[in-house]
Each structure stands twice: as structure tokens, then as C-alpha cells.
């Protein structure tokens, strides 16, 4: 089901409706697609482009900037080990080595059963529990080798299913009931803001006009003409 479908498509449309410009919904829609499929499939990218009136490469251009958006397939669980300074000092590289051995893949790889993708992380802001491990962006720390194996076993056996949703799910709490702010309320506020903006621009223009009129009345016009054309990088 690689295109957005069913309730996800509904959500996508609802999200687009929240913004004055459809393109603003790009990142939320990428998250939605990743939640649906675990990663951003080409079909989803093309569908998002269609929904937003963009070309697929524009969607890819944005999505590829974000480390949390995956444009290549990842396992059902994304296991990240932080190797930034605090974790490094607390033995992150040793932990990484152990993880590679016990999962049988190197950083960036996915286990053959499609369960785990191992990745190296920059600081995850869990330095006080260094070295830390993230599974689908849920935090564990400090983690030693045995602890790591335990987490992996637990995830495999489904013992952590309560705490760790499949990769891509940012939050299991759904805001139901549509928009918090009614659409017409948004429209009214937008209109008011536009009017105010126009008024300010007009006031500014008037002010400038009166100023330049004053200036013209008091100062003689400069007689300078633009010089002869020339240019080039000499």
C-alpha cells in the first residue's frame, strides 16, 4: 500500500487544508507516509508531489535533508546508537562494535529478517544517560552490552510493543475531531491580518510620499546623470 490511502489520505488532505500554501504540508505528509510504510517509498513521494502540486524531485529534495525521513527501506525497528562526545566517552564505540556483532550487520545495515536497522547517531540529547540507544526514537540509557542484547530480545519477542511502536510512528495519540481551530475562524483571522498589512503598507507609502514632497520642496534636485555604460570584470 505504498501510496497514501484510506484514513491516511484523509489525514493528508486535512493537513494540507491547514496551510495557506499546500507546499507547507510537505514535511508532515512525509511523516504520514513514513508512518504508513516504515519508510518513504517512491510511490509515496510521487503521491505527495501530486497532492501538493510539486514534482517528485522537489519532495525528495526536502525529504533527503532530514535524517529522520528515510528514502531507503529500513527494518521494522530502527536502532540508533549515539556516538557523539558524551556517549563516546562512555564507551559508545565499544557498544557499537558489540551491536554490529550481535545483530550481524554493520552500521547502516538491516538484518536479514527485516527486523532491525542499525545506525550511528549524533547527540540525541540523552547525554546524562550515556551511552544511549534509541529504538524507533524511544530512549534507553545507559546501555551496556548485555543491556543492548536484552533490548533486542525484548523487541523481538514483542515484550516492548507497548512502549515502542513500529518505525515511522511518531505518536500513537491521535488528535481526533478535525481541526482545533475552525476553518472559518482561520479565514477570518487571515483576512484581518491581510487588511492590517495592507493598511500598514499604505500608511508607510503615505508617510514616504509626504516626506519626499517635503524634501523636494526644500532641497534642489541633484543634477547627476547615470554615467556611460561600462562593465566587465577587469
Amino acid at each position: 500500500m505504498p501510496r497514501l490511502a484510506g484514513p491516511n489520505l484523509e489525514r493528508a488532505k486535512e493537513t494540507i487544508g491547514l496551510y495557506p500554501q499546500a507546499r507547507s504540508a510537505l514535511v508532515p505528509l512525509c511523516h504520514l507516509a513514513q508512518e504508513q510504510d516504515g519508510w518513504l517509498t517512491p510511490e509515496a513521494i510521487e503521491h505527495i508531489a501530486e497532492l501538493l502540486g510539486l514534482t517528485p524531485v522537489e519532495v525528495l529534495g526536502t525529504a533527503s535533508f532530514y535524517d529522520m525521513l528515510h528514502t531507503e527501506p529500513v527494518g521494522r525497528n530502527l536502532v540508533g546508537i549515539c556516538t557523539n562526545i558524551a556517549c563516546l566517552l562512555a564507551g559508545a564505540y565499544e557498544l557499537m562494535e558489540h551491536a554490529e556483532e550481535s545483530l550481524g550487520v554493520s552500521a547502516g545495515g538491516t538484518t536479514s529478517d527485516g527486523q532491525f536497522t542499525l545506525e550511528e547517531l549524533e547527540c540525541a540529547a540523552y547525554c546524562d544517560k550515556a551511552p544511549c540507544v534509541l529504538v524507533n526514537y524511544r530512549f534507553f540509557g545507559p546501555v551496556d552490552n548485555a543491556g543492548f542484547d536484552q533490548i533486542v530480545d525484548d523487541v523481538r519477542a514483542g515484550r516492548l510493543a507497548e512502549d515502542i511502536p513500529p518505525h515511522g510512528t511518531l505518536s500513537r495519540v491521535r488528535r481526533e475531531g478535525g481541526l482545533q481551530v475552525p476553518a472559518d475562524e482561520i479565514a477570518t483571522q487571515r483576512a484581518a491580518a491581510d487588511t492590517a498589512k495592507r493598511r500598514r503598507a499604505e500608511e508607510k507609502k503615505k508617510l514616504e510620499e509626504s516626506r519626499s514632497a517635503d524634501a523636494a520642496a526644500t532641497a534642489p534636485q541633484p543634477g547627476g546623470q547615470p554615467g556611460p555604460a561600462s562593465g566587465g570584470a577587469e
Binding site: 517512491p42 513521494i45 510539486l54 514534482t55 517528485p56 524531485v57 522537489e58 525528495l60 529534495g61 533527503s64 535533508f65 519626499s212 534636485q221 541633484p222 547627476g224 546623470q225 547615470p226 554615467g227 556611460p228 555604460a229 561600462s230 562593465g231 566587465g232 570584470a233 577587469e234
Partner: protein
């Protein structure tokens, strides 16, 4: 001063600017500099002679301030601080330092950073020698790098389209290419991927950068990251010579630099001509020079002997041609001779041929249009508009072909106006086009009924709220709202579809001219110099200078000795007359009616019926193959001259290479034929022809050789003089925005169009009052008044348009472009497809009274119900086999083909 370099702006004084409320004075390195409010610092400084280095800034695109090469010190409330000059607008009293130590250090730093990942493979890089990165590193860089680590690596060049290669290692991430694709071309098919230290420009996998404008990204890339496949490894800038010229592939007339090496054209680059192409070109115009270089060019005259075309000498071929024409003239009268074609010719050629046909041979059956245009008198009579006027109008009404396919750079200009200044465009069209996305309203109507749409649109009562010709009432109402109370309306007028007769758009045009008496018209006739050919009288019923045959009779009678006694036939009349023997001798002037006339069968019958055919051409085509005498012509870039674009703007054609074999420019052929027909055309040089045009053609009065040689003429001279508002001075070439042109110039060759400074005889104007220019009441709106009856329930009404890459000779003989011509197919609204029990992708038999053939069908919601769209001429066929040009519209039936294909 004939031969003065056209781009040499050193001695050119800008016209004195009127005192300007927006003028501000800034201070650059201690010097006062005049600028305009809102202008960017980098541009104001450049105009005053202070060059600030840059990569990402391009004068024709919005600034982004990304590369930081242009950092200068600007004084603010807290003293001087570094700011990007391409991103800071000037302000009164602003103080700027461009040479300070701090600025130099910044430039050093930026360049050192840019070179961290740059492979420095200049010796094998196409840009070497014309590279802004090379040049600016040497002028402003530190000279050495402290970076010892491994550079970033990418697979060396990858093809991002059929025409463009990308070397990501060389990219300095200025985003000129991606911005061009998005902002200007409207084809955002390349983007920055993986922003960060692995940033690359790329396409979406399997979605190539298939933009008609992709070549422009190669031209503006400030490094060798983007290269064009037809140019890769062909030449070095210091081996190139260049001349300024005009692209004549279509009627936009983009000003270009033609560059050559060892008598081969190596590339065209767009020159920044403000009123025309603003430095852009389309890919067909940019790369079809390959056809000029082609091995298949005609290089010597041919005559038919024992049924075969065999080579001969000019003398022999010309005598044969003249004898054949003379015989027909003697036996059947001058009206039995006809000339078809001429839109490929330069202005001087067209004038010489018009004089030969009308004054020497004595026939008025001359037509530069292949039945694919509009009546000449109408085109010449309508008040003309410039591209700038269209872009600056209050509203534009588009009644013509899909501009993106036929006049690409006009599409670019109008699209930009629609996007940036919200120019409301009302499109009166038969299917969705490349402009539909940007149009304020698209009135998609049934073929043949444009006039009704116009009447409903301009109905003063505004009462008509129901559907008209398939256009929903609300759309009409919306369009009427857009047009309500606007002052400046420009109509872009061309031939919307070749499957309907020219009468339909002509009627609509007259209705528009009546409803909007102030409206101006911009021609969207597509053929290269069709405007020049019509101006020079290569059409029935007209004489050079936009005058009617009858009005100009006395004037030209005195000047030329004779003019034809009565109006002759247009292209379709000529072909019919030739089929039934009324026309016996046919001259094909670069014309290929079999492939270009809307009705292929009629063209074939016409050529088969002609007793004697002379073809003047660059290639042997399906039509010129039937000739008795074939005379080889010099093409674009092989001869000097002038050409006229769709605005009526006269620009230069430059010569850079010599024609193959013994091919001649067309005007010489006319002169030599004249001699053999017993008349001296009195034209020995181009300058002499131009003098005669200036003296006799009323619309060209004052457009002298001297005027055409001034610096201001680089942007062209709009005929008649005084019509278009004062032309701004052409800008000097900025080596960083179009590096290829600046570098070649820097290596010693000026982009000029030198003219042999020949002796000229004096042309005397005849006595008496010159004739008046054609104006609207002289022109007919085409005959027939009513709309065609609707098609029956089983038929679809055909719309036929051209694709940019089609079966044309210049595409077929350009190896880089030939493969881009899409296979023919028919596009139908999904509803009709369903109704007829067909599926998208099915091969269907398309039948019309004229014939039938099998093509794939595709569902296309852009085609309205009841209609079907087909390309006019793709290499594997097109609508011309179905169209009966005697009918006002063409209806086709579709049925599935079992077991075929």
C-alpha cells in the same frame, strides 16, 4: 560606420534618463554612484564600473545570497559589516567598501571553501578557459588551499537528460540551475538532494530533466558541472570564434552568439537581449545547428536527367531553371508560375524573391506560409505589439498554438509575467496547453468555433451565461470579469490548430479587434522569418512594406517597372491550381509542402501535377526530391543578413562558417535567375538590397544600413520606426552570467556581425505619394460566418498541433534532437475513451474521410469531451494525413484494432 562592432558599448552613451523620483545616490569605495531605489547593490556597482565577484547571482533571476562570493562591507548603524551585495538593495547615502582588507579576506575564505571539494580537473573540463570559478579564483582567491583531506566523490558525469550531463563533483552549489528550472522554465525537475556535506544536484530517479529549456542551465552554470552532450569535448573557448546572430528556428528570434571552430558550428549561446530573449534559448534552437553541420546538406545543384537527380554546375542548373520558368510563362502566362515558401529566408532574400516573382516573372501567386498561418493581409494590418508590451499589458488574450511547443521563449516571457507580475492571461484554446496552469481563465472550446467564444466574451450585455462552443458559462463570466475595464489588452494571435481552417481564428481575431479597438496584436506565427517574408511581400495580394497590391501598384510600378495585374493564389490555391494544370511551374523556396502543408494529399497532388519544379533548399526533402532543378541554399550561420521576428523587430544574421560545397544565399540565386530571365534586379550586395528596402518599403522607411549598424541595434529595430517606445541600450555582456560568450570575446573575437563594406549604388525613390500601410478595414476576416455543425455522436473533432521536437528537417538532421521527437499518438478525454469502449494505451484505428491509420490512444483530461488531439507531424506520422484543408474542421472516428501492433 558599417562593420562597427555591435556589442562594443564603450562609446555608447545611454539615453539621458529623465529625472527620476526613485533615484538614490550611494557611495562605493568613496565614489558617488547613481542608482535606483530597490536596485541590488551588486547591479548598481557594476553599472558604475565596480565589479563585485559572484557565483549564484544572475541578473535574470531572483537573488538568493547563497554563495557569499559577493560579500562587501556595508555601513549600518553599528559601522561596517560584511553583507552579500547581491542581496542588499541600495539605499540613499549607503556607504559600501568593495576592496577593503576585510572584503579580501572574505573572498579568500569563500573561494578556499568552494575549492575544498572541487576536483580541479580543469584540463579535462569543458568550462576550462571560460570558467567563472577559474577566473574568480585567480582574481580574488588565496592561491593555495589548506585542505589536505580526501575530497567528496561522486560518479563522474551522469546524464540528467538526453542533452545535459552533470558532474556533481564540480558543482559549487550555487543553485542557478535549479532556480532556472523552477522560476523561469517552470519545470522543477532538478533539485538539491541530501542537503549537507553530501549535497548534490540531481533529478528524481527515472524522471530526467526533460525540459525544453534545459540548455540554459548549461549556459549559466558557473563551473563545468553541467555540460551539453552536443558540445562535450568538441572545442576549447580559445579555439572558438563567434558572431552575433539571431535564431531563426522559430519566429521569436532569440539573439544568439554563434560559435565555431574550424568551419564547424560548435554551439549557440543566448545573448541577453532585453526586449527579446533575455539570454535564454530553447533547446531546439540551441542544438539544431547540428543540421547546418549535417553531412546530408545539399552542396551542389542537381538537375533531373532520365528521371534521376544528378549533380551539375550552377550555370547549367540556373539556365535549366530559367528556361523552364520562361517556357511556362510564354505558353500559359505569368500566372501559371507560382512560388511557395520563403519563411526560411533572410529579409534581403525575401525581398529579392518577391521582386523576382512579382516584377520579373509577373506572378502574384506567391506564398511564404504553407497554409499553416493566417491571411497575410490580416497579419499585416492588425496593430502590432512587442513582447514587452504583451508582458506589461493589463491582460493578454491568447488565441494561438501551444506557445511552449511552437514559440518556446515567448512562452517563457509570458509565463514569467504571469507568475511574477500576475499578468492575467485569457486563453482561448481547444485543449489544455503549457500555459493553462498559469492562465487566469482557459476557455477550452470546440474546434472551429473561436469566433463564437470571442463574441460571447466581448458581448457588451454580458448576458450570455450559458455554455458557448463547449465553454462553460461561468468560465466566460470569469474571463469577462478579468477584461472588464482593462486598458491595455494584447492579443497573441496565431493558428491554434491545423485541423481547422484559418478562417476560424481569423474571424475571431477580427471580432477581437472590433471589440477592443485599443488592443494590439502579437503574432504567434511560428516559422522562422515568416514576418519578414510577409513584410517583404512574399504573399498574395501584398507588396513589400506592408502595403496591399492595389494600393502599392503605382508606387512599385514606377520603381520596379511592373507589378502583377491581379491578386494571385495562396498556398492552397497554388497547390489546387497546380493539381489541375492552371499552375505549370512551381518554385519551392525552402518549402516542403508535402510535410508542412496541413493537407498532405493536396500537397502531393499539387506537386505531382506541376509540370516543372525548381526547389531552392538546404536538404533534399520529400518535396524537393520531386523537383526538376534543385538549387543548394546557404542556411543560418552561413550567410549574413537580417531577419524579422514576430514583433516586426529586425535583427542581424551573422555568418560564421562557409556553406557546404557551392551553396549560395537565396538572394544571389534570385539575382542570377533574374539575369537569365532577362532582368537585372540591380542588387549586388546585401547593403544594396537593404537600401532598396528602405527606399521602397513604407514600413521600413528610415531603417537604414547605418541605423542597423549602431550599438543600439543589437536588440533589433522594430519596424515601422517610432512605433515601439524608446529602446534601452543593450547591456554589455556579463562574463559571469553567460561565461561562454564573455570568454570567447575575451580571447579576442568580438560578437559582431561584420558586413562587407561594399560600394552601394543609389536607390531613388519613385515620384509621388508612397502607399499607405495596410490597416484593418483592408483586411478580411476570412470568409464563411457560421460555426461548423457539431460532430456526430461517433466522431471526435480533431485538434492538431505541433510538438517542439517533430518531424521537421532541422530536427531530423540534428542527431542530438532527432531522438527526442515523441512517437505520434492520439489524446482523448477519458470520458470519450470510456464511451467508445477504448482504454488508454490501446492501439486504435483513426479514420477520417481522407484516410486512416493506427496509433496508440491515451486518456488526457486536458482534451475536452468530443475532441481529440494529435500531433501534426511526428517522424512516424501525424494529422496531416487526415486533414482535408478544404473543410472547416476535421472529424475522426476511433475503433480498436484487434490483433495488430
Amino acid at each position: 560606420m558599417a562593420g562597427a562592432p555591435l556589442t562594443d558599448t564603450r562609446d555608447y552613451q545611454r539615453p539621458e534618463a529623465a529625472p527620476d523620483a526613485d533615484a538614490v545616490t550611494i557611495n562605493v569605495d568613496g565614489r558617488p554612484v547613481q542608482a535606483r531605489k530597490g536596485e541590488l547593490l551588486i547591479a548598481a556597482a557594476e553599472r558604475a564600473g565596480t565589479y563585485i565577484p559572484r557565483f549564484c547571482y544572475h541578473p535574470r533571476m531572483k537573488p538568493v545570497g547563497m554563495c557569499r562570493m559577493c560579500l562587501v562591507e556595508v555601513k549600518g548603524p553599528r559601522g561596517f559589516a560584511l553583507q552579500p551585495a547581491c542581496f542588499v538593495p541600495v539605499e540613499e547615502g549607503q556607504e559600501v567598501l568593495t576592496q577593503s582588507d576585510k572584503v579580501r579576506k572574505a573572498q579568500d575564505g569563500v573561494l578556499e571553501f568552494l575549492l575544498v571539494n572541487h576536483p580541479l580537473d580543469c584540463p579535462v573540463c569543458d568550462k576550462g578557459g571560460e570558467c567563472p570559478l577559474q577566473d574568480q579564483t585567480i582574481s580574488f582567491g588565496p592561491g593555495e588551499s589548506r585542505f589536505l583531506e580526501e575530497k567528496r566523490h561522486f560518479e563522474k558525469p551522469i546524464a540528467i537528460s538526453e542533452l545535459v550531463y552533470l558532474d556533481r563533483e564540480r558543482c559549487i552549489q550555487c543553485s542557478r540551475c535549479t532556480r532556472f528550472a523552477d522560476e523561469l522554465a517552470g519545470d522543477p525537475l532538478i533539485d538539491f538532494i541530501g542537503r549537507g556535506d553530501q549535497l548534490e544536484v540531481n533529478t528524481y530517479p527515472d524522471a530526467p530533466f526533460a525540459s525544453y529549456f534545459s540548455g540554459n542551465t548549461v549556459q549559466i552554470c558557473p563551473v563545468g558541472a553541467l555540460t551539453a552532450s552536443p558540445y562535450r569535448f568538441r572545442a576549447r573557448p580559445w579555439d572558438l570564434e563567434q558572431v552575433e546572430s539571431t535564431c531563426t528556428t522559430c519566429a521569436v528570434g532569440c539573439v544568439v552568439s554563434v560559435q565555431s571552430s574550424a568551419n564547424r558550428i560548435t554551439r549557440y549561446l543566448g545573448i541577453d537581449s532585453d526586449p527579446v530573449n533575455q539570454s535564454w534559448m530553447c533547446d531546439r534552437g540551441r542544438f539544431d545547428f547540428e543540421a547546418v553541420n549535417s553531412e546530408d546538406r545539399l552542396s551542389q545543384p542537381l538537375i533531373r536527367r532520365d528521371g534521376q537527380l544528378v549533380p551539375t554546375t550552377w550555370g547549367d542548373a540556373l539556365s535549366r531553371a530559367a528556361a523552364g520558368i520562361e517556357e511556362v510563362r510564354k505558353l500559359h502566362g505569368p500566372a501559371a508560375v507560382a512560388v511557395l515558401g520563403g519563411a526560411r529566408l533572410a529579409n534581403e532574400d525575401a525581398y529579392a524573391w518577391a521582386k523576382l516573382a512579382k516584377a520579373v516573372i509577373g506572378t502574384d501567386s506567391v506564398d511564404a506560409q504553407m497554409g499553416d498561418g493566417l491571411p497575410a493581409e490580416l497579419v499585416l494590418a492588425l496593430p502590432q505589439a512587442t513582447i514587452d508590451e504583451a508582458c506589461g499589458a493589463d491582460a493578454v488574450i491568447l488565441l494561438g498554438p501551444d506557445l511552449k511547443e511552437e514559440l518556446p521563449v515567448l512562452h517563457l516571457r509570458l509565463r514569467q509575467a504571469a507568475v511574477e507580475r500576475k499578468l492575467p492571461i485569457i486563453e482561448i484554446t481547444q485543449t489544455a496547453t503549457g500555459m493553462t496552469r498559469h492562465a487566469a481563465v482557459s476557455l477550452i472550446h470546440r474546434p472551429g468555433e473561436a469566433a463564437s467564444v470571442v463574441r460571447a466574451l466581448t458581448d457588451p450585455s454580458g448576458a450570455a451565461s450559458s455554455d458557448v462552443a463547449g465553454v462553460p458559462g461561468p468560465s466566460l463570466a470569469a474571463a469577462r470579469d478579468v477584461l472588464a475595464g482593462v486598458a491595455r489588452v494584447v492579443v497573441v494571435l496565431g493558428r491554434p490548430s491545423l485541423a481547422e481552417s484559418a478562417a476560424a481564428p481569423a474571424r475571431a481575431a477580427v471580432a477581437l479587434a472590433t471589440a477592443f479597438p485599443q488592443a494590439r496584436f502579437l503574432s504567434a506565427l511560428r516559422r522562422g522569418n515568416v514576418r519578414g517574408a510577409l513584410d517583404m511581400g512574399l504573399a498574395p495580394g501584398v507588396l513589400p512594406g506592408r502595403v496591399g497590391l492595389n494600393q502599392g501598384r503605382d508606387w512599385f510600378g514606377r520603381a520596379w517597372g511592373q507589378v502583377p495585374p491581379e491578386r494571385g493564389l495562396d498556398a492552397s490555391g497554388i497547390l489546387d491550381a497546380s493539381a489541375d494544370g492552371r499552375v505549370q511551374a512551381l518554385v519551392l523556396l525552402g518549402a516542403n509542402p508535402i510535410e508542412d502543408f496541413p493537407d498532405r494529399r493536396r500537397a502531393e497532388q499539387g506537386l505531382d501535377g506541376a509540370g516543372f519544379i525548381v526547389a531552392v533548399d538546404g536538404f533534399l526533402t520529400e518535396s524537393s526530391q520531386k523537383a526538376d532543378v534543385v538549387l543548394p541554399a546557404a542556411l543560418y550561420s552561413e550567410r549574413p543578413g537580417t531577419t524579422t521576428n514576430l514583433e516586426g523587430r529586425i535583427t542581424r544574421l551573422g555568418q560564421k562558417v562557409v556553406p557546404p560545397g557551392v551553396a549560395w544565399p537565396d538572394w544571389m540565386i534570385a539575382v542570377e535567375l533574374g539575369v537569365r530571365l532577362g532582368s537585372d534586379l540591380e542588387m549586388d550586395t546585401l547593403a544594396e538590397i537593404r537600401d532598396e528596402i528602405e527606399a521602397l518599403a513604407v514600413s521600413h522607411r528610415g531603417i537604414t544600413e547605418e541605423l542597423l549598424n549602431t550599438a543600439a541595434a543589437r536588440d533589433g529595430i522594430v519596424a515601422p520606426l517610432g512605433r515601439a517606445t524608446s529602446e534601452p541600450a543593450p547591456a554589455a555582456i556579463d562574463p559571469m552570467s553567460d561565461p561562454g560568450i564573455g570568454a570567447v570575446e575575451h580571447h579576442g573575437v568580438k560578437a559582431t556581425a561584420p558586413e562587407p563594406g561594399a560600394r552601394r549604388r543609389l536607390v531613388t525613390r519613385p515620384e509621388g505619394q508612397p502607399p499607405a500601410l495596410l490597416s484593418l478595414p483592408d483586411a478580411e476576416g476570412g470568409s464563411g460566418s457560421g460555426d461548423p455543425a457539431p460532430p456526430d455522436a461517433y466522431s471526435l473533432r480533431l485538434v492538431a498541433g505541433r510538438k517542439l521536437y517533430d518531424g521537421a528537417v532541422s530536427v531530423r538532421h540534428s542527431p542530438s534532437l532527432a531522438g527526442l521527437a515523441a512517437p505520434a499518438g492520439i489524446r482523448v478525454n477519458p470520458y470519450d475513451l470510456d464511451r467508445l469502449g477504448l482504454h488508454s494505451g490501446d492501439r486504435v484505428r483513426i479514420s477520417a474521410p481522407r484516410g486512416s491509420f493506427v496509433l496508440p490512444a491515451a486518456a488526457d483530461p486536458g482534451v475536452p469531451r468530443g475532441s481529440a488531439w494529435m500531433p501534426f507531424s511526428q517522424p512516424d506520422g501525424g494529422a496531416s494525413r487526415l486533414i482535408d484543408s478544404a473543410e472547416s474542421v476535421t472529424d475522426v472516428r476511433l475503433e480498436t484494432v484487434q490483433g495488430e501492433g
